[in-house]
């Protein structure tokens, strides 16, 4: 448990003292440790159930407690998988001769530490600090290298992230002022219905987090930042970072939404999510640059996540659980598929030496493997069986039907069709033979293998959805009986 918190922070400090090459070996070792620690924690929770971990030995209202439950450890494990893939890819992909690359590893590890902090966080202010840690590390990664366009994207990202954090903090201030505690469960215990100040606090926090998650129409900062960053960084940002703020929003909603939310808010957030699916997919279809296509696809895929709000508000308990499982699967499958897609896109760009979609002509001969990974990830985004994306959408479909909110079904289906459209556009471009140049660069095999593994994981998620969900379902079932232990 402590290893999970300690390793990323310690590796961040250590790798700052080394240069890129030596930092790479160190980091690969660290990733191995992190994966092992995450796996063992996951098994511990899967067999023994969730628990609270009191940091510094002080119990919750006074100290900070970590909430270690099935959902949290699953995301810890997901982070370990995706971050390791991105880290290994980055170690080969990034050019070690640039002296500023040495700062990649510390930023990478701080990002990881922040992510773990958010998945496990149960204290509202601690979540704020975790969010800031993630945001600043992510901004640093985007700005790394210091070209004008990257700086511009980083500044937009920074300002959006800061505004979102402050809105969240204002909500925390209102909640603390009223309830005198920062522990999320502590607040959930004492909050009643019809508390306008607390309801406004929830609204502010959700708005701030929606800005950080790039919910339509607050998504303007995402495509530049994710499009301009180096591919492994984009994969981290799209796969994991935006999920962190959504995760907090979802946790708040599931704990407090039934008393502080309203049907209007729930449907409104769902509608914005639906708009994001349609608008993001359409924009993805229209982008001239490959990575912009993938970035707008993220805007669309994030939209699905916000269907959580209408599908869990004022519905029967089993329906709500279906929706929660569907959204969780969507988060996991999107993280895997989008990371695969960005890494594959990076390989393609490296190969044709151009970022434009129409420069891809003929690449299907030279880089069939990367292109295949790209397509495989695309299949998961479309939601076709047997991928994880399909399993997620299937659950959401059932939840929509069971709660009588049939209008979301149209969004789910249309979103899949649009995703198919923009993925096939890339395919069409890469099979065109009219390209005069056949000057392609062959990236190392490692670079090609990693997106393939991630895409296969996203695919396989659909096949093993049942056992995965059984662990995910743990927190919501044992929530009443969580044991407070103090190892």
């Amino acid at each position: 448990m402590a290893g999970l918190l300690f390793t990323p922070l310690a590796w961040a400090a250590l790798s700052l003292l080394l240069d890129f090459r030596r930092g790479r070996w160190l980091s690969w070792l660290g990733m191995l440790i992190q994966v092992l620690v995450s796996l063992s924690l996951w098994f511990a929770v899967a067999t023994g159930g969730g628990f609270f971990y009191a940091l510094a030995g002080w119990q919750a209202p006074l100290g900070i407690a970590l909430r270690v439950d099935g959902l949290a450890v699953s995301f810890v494990l997901l982070t370990a998988a995706v971050a390791t893939a991105c880290g290994v890819h980055a170690g080969v992909y990034l050019d070690p001769s640039k002296s500023w690359q040495r700062y990649f590893w510390p930023l990478f590890w701080f990002l990881w530490a922040g992510l773990n902090g958010v998945w496990l966080g149960a204290d509202l202010f601690n979540l704020y600090v975790g969010l800031e840690l993630i945001s600043l590390a992510a901004v640093g990664l985007v700005a790394l290298g210091g070209e004008a366009a990257a700086l511009r994207a980083a500044l937009r990202y920074l300002f959006a992230a800061l505004l979102g954090s402050l809105a969240y903090l204002l909500g925390v201030a209102l909640l603390y002022g009223q309830f005198g505690t920062l522990s999320l469960t502590g607040i959930a215990d004492v909050v009643g219905a019809a508390e306008p100040a607390a309801a406004l606090a929830l609204l502010l926090m959700l708005a701030g987090l929606a800005l950080k998650t790039a919910l339509f129409p607050l998504h303007g900062w995402l495509p530049p930042a994710h499009g301009i960053a180096k591919s492994p960084v984009s994969a981290l940002l799209s796969g994991l970072v935006v999920k962190a703020s959504f995760y907090i929003a979802a946790r708040l909603w599931l704990e407090l939404g039934d008393r502080l939310g309203s049907q209007l808010l729930a449907q409104g957030l769902g509608a914005l999510g639906a708009a994001a699916v349609l608008w993001g997919s359409w924009r993805a279809f229209r982008q001239p640059y490959l990575k912009q296509v993938v970035a707008y696809s993220s805007v669309a895929q994030i939209g699905y996540l916000f269907l959580l709000f209408p599908l869990t508000y004022a519905v029967a308990e089993p329906v709500s659980r279906l929706a929660q499982q569907g959204i969780t699967l969507q988060v996991i499958s999107h993280a895997l598929a989008k990371a695969a897609m960005f890494l594959a896109a990076g390989n393609l760009i490296l190969s044709v030496r151009s970022k434009r979609v129409d420069a891809l002509g003929g690449v299907s001969h030279f880089l069939p493997f990367s292109l295949f990974s790209f397509g495989l990830a695309g299949v998961s985004l479309m939601g076709m069986p047997p991928t994880g994306g399909f399993a997620a959408k299937w659950l959401l479909l059932q939840a929509s039907l069971a709660s009588g909110q049939w209008w979301w079904i149209a969004v789910l289906l249309l979103g899949g069709v649009l995703a198919a459209a923009y993925v096939f556009r890339i395919y069409r471009a890469s099979f065109l033979e009219d390209s005069a140049s056949d000057d392609f660069y062959h990236p190392p095999k490692t670079l090609e293998a990693i997106p393939m593994i991630l895409a296969l994981l996203a695919l396989g998620l659909g096949l093993v959805a049942e056992p995965v969900l059984s662990v995910l379902a743990l927190p919501f079932e044992v929530a009443a009986g969580v044991t407070v232990v103090q190892p």
């Binding site: 202010f125 600090v129 800031e132 600043l136 901004v139 640093g140 700005a143 210091g146 070209e147 004008a148 366009a149 700086l151 511009r152 980083a154 500044l155 937009r156 920074l158 300002f159 800061l162 505004l163 402050l166 903090l169 204002l170 925390v172 201030a173 209102l174 603390y176 002022g177 009223q178 005198g180 920062l182 495509p223 530049p224 982008q287 912009q292």
Partner: protein, 102 residues
């Protein structure tokens, strides 16, 4: 009404001022000023509201100290980014027509 609550309300007003400035100003440094004003407003609400009943409360005070350090970190990083951006492009704002999608 206690003075603490009065300060919380002035914090709310600062939030309003800061938010308006943040949304309306183009110049990056001015936006940064607005962000800091907004932050100060939030801190005032946090401490003022919490101390309204029970008198001095060290918990929100510690939170604000943490918040101030996070704010200076963000501000300093933003200044470095802004200055380098200005150095490379000669611009002091992000607003320009044309490459909104870039």
């Amino acid at each position: 009404m206690s003075p603490d609550l009065l300060y919380a309300l002035s914090g709310v007003a600062l939030c309003g001022i800061g938010l308006a400035g943040f949304l309306l100003l183009d110049h990056l440094l001015r936006r940064l000023l607005a962000f800091n004003l907004l932050g100060s407003g939030v801190f005032l609400v946090l401490v003022g509201l919490a101390q309204h009943r029970g008198g001095p409360d060290p918990v929100p005070q510690a939170l604000v100290l943490t918040g101030i350090v996070v704010a200076i970190a963000a501000t300093a990083l933003a200044i470095v980014l802004i200055r380098r951006y200005f150095h490379l492009t000669g611009r002091t704002s992000l607003a320009d027509a044309g490459d909104g999608q870039s």
